[in-house]
């Protein structure tokens, strides 16, 4: 086991941490968005990469995080809010994980989508009939730089966790499951426990990302917190980057976020068409994700 990669990583994180000192609001905002999607996509791939279960529940956990802040943000100290959010997200993930992992392939995909929508509907119904106000206002005193630093810390944590998991028995178990699920039990791996544990772990990160981002929007309603496009975007970014490696999703997040940003500025009225075309071109030219591409280069 080598800790060598930790040195450049530490330097990188330190350099990124200085960003709010000199970047303007937009630059910071863009970096925050990059970090947010990095956390989500990496956390997504942490579970979905090795197990090959494609989850569309990302926004369910992200939304749970955001709602925890909306409900508790003004009454409890911030660290406690984050802790509670993480606990709720993790608990829901355990519950879901235990009940769904016998689904396979596309059934799991659509199940997780349905789950996110169900949570959104239930939250809506609760707000409408119990609190009698749909939106919640989040007036938490936090600056953009603080949000950025928190997100950076979370991103660091995700990568560190992913790196450690990859080196642990758990990671080994996962690789076996991904390669051949029928073999796994025969080599003494309890598939269910491994998968559920990982699902919960990845969900906790997604929940925290939602909690950290929530104060940025002032106002939260179920349509904002549980916007299904977030799940799709995370899925697409991770798949495009390559979900098989820890750094894979990052390679999807950065180009795609920047591409979106560029297209939206240059072609506000033909954004969709051009984005779609660019997307098709990427899919055809980069078959195994960006990570696959770089790995092939390296192998050559």
């Amino acid at each position: 086991m080598t800790f060598l990669p930790l040195i450049p990583a530490t330097l990188l994180v330190a350099a990124l941490a200085t960003l709010p000192l000199y970047a303007d609001g937009y630059c910071l905002s863009l970096s925050l968005s990059l970090l947010n999607y990095t956390v989500l996509a990496t956390a997504w791939a942490m579970f979905s990469g090795p197990t090959r279960y494609v989850s569309l529940a990302t926004v369910a956990f992200f939304g749970i995080g955001a709602y925890s802040v909306a409900v508790l943000g003004e009454v409890l100290p911030w660290p406690l809010v984050l802790l509670i959010a993480a606990a709720v997200g993790g608990a829901v993930a355990l519950l879901v994980g235990l009940s769904t992992l016998r689904l396979s392939g596309v059934y799991f995909v659509v199940f997780t989508f349905g789950l996110a929508e169900l949570i959104r509907q239930l939250v809506t119904w609760y707000e409408v009939n119990v609190t009698r106000a749909l939106g919640r206002y989040v007036f938490v005193d936090v600056t953009q730089a603080q949000i950025y630093w928190q997100m950076l810390a979370l991103a660091t944590l995700v990568f560190l966790t992913g790196w450690l998991v990859g080196r642990s028995r758990l990671g080994f178990a996962l690789r076996i499951i991904g390669d051949d699920e029928t073999v796994a039990p025969h080599v003494g791996i309890d598939i269910t426990i491994v998968k559920v544990a990982l699902f919960a772990l990845s969900a906790v990160f997604m929940t925290l990302a939602g909690a950290i981002m929530a104060p940025r929007w002032t106002y939260i309603d179920p349509a904002i917190a549980f916007n299904p496009m977030v799940s799709f975007q995370v899925l697409i970014m991770a798949l495009l980057g390559g979900a098989g490696r820890l750094y894979g999703p990052l390679l999807g997040v950065i180009p795609l976020t920047l591409l979106f940003e560029f297209l939206i500025a240059r072609f506000p009225n033909h954004f969709s068409i051009i984005l779609g075309l660019v997307f098709l071109v990427i899919v055809y030219l980069v078959p195994n994700g960006v990570a696959g591409l770089t790995a092939r280069r390296a192998a050559r």
């Binding site: 059934y107 989508f113 779609g276």
Partner: protein, 291 residues
């Protein structure tokens, strides 16, 4: 009386769900393409029907005769031009699934973008056959009945084709096991292209029919994709009967909950039903277990 009322509107709604989902079950079940741009084709057909009706004076049922063959051809061309490549490239079914998700996600944006440029983001709606019809003592809109009847005819017709004809048998064989299908001299490429195009034709038919009574806009496609996906998964991928039953169940659940519990819980109820059925039968109502 109240019950008949509720059941009738539930069946009409369910018929509509089945109608918009049948194409997807063919595309995904037989052609193995997870088509995220499915709903965009529905919206495109709805816009065509709107344009035919308000611009050219062609009524929607007559519009079907134009739109459906057109959609069939367009989808066939898309499969041939864009998707065969992915199919040939994919080593495993999972790889094809990922590639088709990504590619059709791009396609979704292209089609939606074209619709936005052509029609803008505004809501569209028109009135055709919006006359009350009395059925078993309860009142229902004629255009919804037409859509229900079309769902029954298309569903029934397809079911017969799939079970009674050589072509249908070939398609089902491809759906069950593409490799073995090849062994019995079925051209799986042609069968898949045909299934994909047929699915495209069906969704266009759905789009034309629902445009008679739903308000739509260029950005609504994804809602229909997700609805269709849920019906398909709940019924079991590639199974037309499953599609019909799942659609009806969802429609009935929605209407009954709306009438007797709380309209605010309709979607919660349908998602609960969907999740519950998957937990009970992991491969959908009529699906065979995947492994």
């Amino acid at each position: 009386m109240i019950l008949i009322d509720a059941l009738l509107s539930g069946v009409t709604l369910g018929g509509m769900y089945a109608l918009i989902a049948m194409g997807l079950t063919l595309q995904y079940g037989v052609a193995r393409i997870m088509n995220l741009s499915y709903g965009e084709f529905l919206i495109a057909a709805a816009f065509l029907a709107f344009w035919f009706f308000t611009g050219l004076g062609v009524n929607p049922p007559a519009g079907l005769l134009l739109v459906v063959p057109l959609a069939f051809l367009v989808n066939w061309a898309i499969y041939r031009a864009l998707l065969t490549w992915l199919v040939a490239r994919a080593k495993t079914r999972a790889a094809l699934e990922v590639d088709s998700i990504l590619a059709t996600f791009g396609l979704l944006f292209v089609i939606q973008g074209i619709a936005l440029v052509a029609f803008g983001g505004a809501y569209y709606s028109y009135s055709y056959l919006a006359v009350p019809v009395s059925v078993l003592g309860s009142t229902i809109a004629a255009n919804r009945l037409v859509a229900l009847a079309a769902a029954a005819v298309i569903g029934g017709g397809l079911y017969l084709v799939m079970t009674r004809t050589r072509l249908g048998t070939a398609l089902r064989a491809v759906a069950v096991d593409p490799v073995a299908a090849q062994l019995v001299a079925i051209d799986i490429r042609a069968a898949a292209a045909f299934a994909f195009a047929l699915g495209g034709g069906l969704v266009a038919a759905g789009g034309v029919l629902v445009s008679m009574f739903l308000t739509f806009s260029a950005t609504m496609g994804v809602l229909f994709t997700m609805k269709a996906l849920i019906v398909v998964i709940m019924g079991g991928v590639g199974n037309l009967m499953g599609c019909l039953v799942a659609g009806l169940l969802l429609g009935l659940a929605e209407t009954l909950v709306s009438r007797f519990v709380d309209p605010g819980l309709t979607l919660a109820a349908t998602f609960t039903l969907f999740l519950g059925i998957l937990l009970w039968r992991p491969a959908g109502l009529f699906g065979k277990a995947a492994r």
